[in-house]
Symmetry: C2
Subunit: 439 residues, 2 copies
């Protein structure tokens, strides 16, 4: 494994696991580097939550509130100390509070035992994919373009991934069905389908209600599980469509959630809802959540007690309703999205838009939107945009596991002020018009 | 995947990933169940840190101290808020503080860039194994009996594991060399060797200084990396032998660490030190730590900022020396170990000990010791011990990846008072003598 060279103990990338050669683990590097090199540029790249509503001192109130709650529920001083200081149960110590908020916020009514508390939604994805994909004959389908987190998990676990491309109007069940049939014809088992039904990252698309029903029916017909990712619902303005999980009558859906956007990114608390029964050879039945927990015991052992205590304190402050804590932030993000769309419309009057071949979708929430441009929106274009026009964005091609999206840009609106958005869209329009005019 | 049955959406274990059928993910279940059923029993089973020195309110002091430190180092109020509230860098935000404490506490002198902050040491193990094991031809060697965490990681990643059994006097380099040669003869690549050189979990054994030098030499000769796990050093009394990493001149050692035992279990902060250069096809060189970071971005994205802030505050309170914070706890655990050994010597006078075939090792630190008994120390024996004698222990066979340790018991001393130890050893002696006398 050591190659000739001046450095003792030098390794070569060819000797490391193949995932480290997967472009998905690198895509964000170039973006970070560009951002670092052009600090004055307006950046539509990061999907960071806005932190203007957060005050450091609140953390102490939240922790105290959770400890008071434990005391009110009869915990002794020793138990309270342990609940914060010690390793907790691997499945999590605030499962009841999360199940309660899912009932109140999302109409998802599951027992607390079907919840596993994780280190962010990323770990929940990891656990679900590891449990469900048995070997090389199993296929994970993903709505594409898709969140890099799921592509990355697949790479780490040598899991084969089949993209189901979104059309101009978003996800279509017939495309999923075609992919399932094609994989079956190849002798493989389509096992699960990963999708973010609401305001997805990266495209911003949302699956209509009727399609949700169709999707559940299709999953049942083809014996497919659905991994439903849901980070942007409660931070979007207005009433959301029902989650797939709340419509799920046949336990087809593993719901993946995050409290990072809604409550506190720095706590890194997410969860999986996995109420599927699992039967073993002896006929004993448990829940899929218990299997995910067993895997978690070998990944992070448990989610930090401290993180769980803080988000529990936050939930308790709102009677368990995370939605109530996000009224202000959801309105803020909604304004940012509307402002971006309005500025785009101003910058590209309809005639010019059509002539140039520029178009975009109009998400009603979430952090992201898709903008189609009349040129290759690649790293070279990004570099030119940052250097000469002072505006940064994300090439949508980063999010296609098997190529695609070469003429599309992802814009993130979550982290910018209205003034920055106005300025940024103006710079972006200059760049697009200039780039389109190049030979 | 769905079998006939009354439950909608039921899965079968045979359809899940094989790791879920690995006994290592189940061993602890029986133990937990027994502990739950016999709450009055004295339990030598859990390796939990003692929490008597911890006070809940200290957490607030630690957080404030870290925030003050950021302010003193010129951070703006916005940056301070972000450092706690936002996602942080994947590699960690307290790498300098950890590198500083490694220099002061352990004589490990590495740049901060070679440190990756992880969600407990478990995640560090996961990252190291995933990065280093390329495929089925690569072998991970482990000192056996070994910590279940590494066996679990191997199971999750379908990594082949080769145990190198400890002899009566602990680990021997010649056994490792024989295992390396045998694997090479099978056409496989011995890639890394996982070991806990100090007061290991489960056996309590420590590798002598001379053997440490031999091991490093052997690693160099056979192009092997060493994964050095080190959780019990600073919580053991007296001066410890040098870490392998501090003796490592050829960058053969990836050092895995935990702040759980030394500072705060509920924060779940661990780290990997990986200063190996990694060269890619273009000749560019990075550090193995950067590769581990890329994998981490797909497992937990980042270690909770909140957890990092609290342990940073703790380190700052002691001028960066974690050892100084553990003087009292190390003395406490040392007393517990000495008390246990003294009580065992009283319960089994030499003549009786020899007649029965009972013996134990005498660790100078750590949480665990090994006790050999004249019968199969299996689940049935454990059940009888708990029910009829009110004492719980861990079958050592749980820690052998390929069988072994059938007549050995692991005793943990970390979580009991002296009175409980005295009582527990008395019960244990009664059980052993009774069980040995059975036909």
């Amino acid at each position: 494994m050591t190659r000739p060279g001046p450095q003792p103990g030098a390794l070569h990338t060819a000797d490391l696991h193949a995932s480290l050669g997967d472009p998905v683990l690198d895509t964000m590097n170039f973006l970070n580097e560009v951002t670092h090199r052009y600090p004055e540029a307006v950046s539509f790249a990061p999907g960071r939550p806005y932190d203007g509503f957060f005050e450091t001192e609140q953390i102490f109130d939240h922790l105290h509130r959770y400890l008071d709650h434990l005391e009110a529920n009869g915990a002794s001083p020793g138990q309270i100390r342990s609940s914060l200081f010690q390793y907790g149960p691997t499945s999590g110590q605030i499962r009841e509070l999360i199940a309660d908020s899912l009932r109140k916020d999302e109409g998802i009514d599951v027992p607390a035992e079907s919840v596993v508390v994780t280190v962010g939604c990323q770990e929940a994805m990891f656990l679900a994919v590891r449990a469900l994909i048995r070997g090389p004959e199993d296929v994970l389908l993903v709505s594409s373009p898709c969140y890099v987190g799921i592509t990355g998990v697949a790479a780490l676990l040598d899991v084969d991934l089949t993209p189901v491309e979104e059309g101009d109007k978003g996800f279509r069940c017939e495309d999923l069905e075609a992919a399932v049939l094609a994989e079956r014809a190849r002798g493989r088992r389509p096992r699960a389908f990963y999708v973010t039904p609401d305001h997805s990252n990266p495209s911003g698309s949302t699956i209509p209600l009727e399609t949700r029903h169709e999707l559940l029916e299709l999953a049942d017909r083809y014996d497919l599980l659905i991994l439903e990712d849901s980070p942007y619902r409660l931070v979007s303005p207005g009433r959301q469509l029902p989650t797939l999980k709340s419509l799920d009558r046949a336990r087809r859906v593993v719901h993946l959630g995050s409290l990072s956007k809604t409550l506190f990114p720095g706590a890194r608390v997410g969860y999986a809802v996995a109420d599927q029964p699992v039967v073993d050879d002896t006929g004993r039945t448990g829940l899929l959540a218990a299997e995910l927990t067993r895997i978690k015991s070998m990944v992070t052992v448990n989610t930090p007690s401290l993180s769980q205590a803080v988000v529990a304190g936050m939930l308790l402050s709102a009677g368990g309703r995370a939605a109530d804590l996000n009224v202000e932030t959801a309105a803020y993000y909604g304004d940012a999205m509307r402002t971006t769309l309005a500025r785009l419309a101003e910058a590209f009057p309809e005639e010019e838009r059509v002539a140039l071949g520029v178009r975009w979708n109009e998400p009603s929430g979430g952090f992201f939107l898709s903008l189609t441009v009349p040129f290759h929106a690649d790293n070279a274009a990004l570099e030119r945009s940052a250097e000469q026009f002072g505006v940064i964005w994300t090439p949508m091609s980063y999010f296609y596991p098997r190529g695609g999206g070469e003429r599309v840009i992802r814009l993130s609106v979550s982290y910018l002020t209205h003034a920055e958005i106005a300025d940024g869209v103006e710079r972006l329009a200059c760049f697009i018009k200039d780039q389109a005019a190049r030979p």
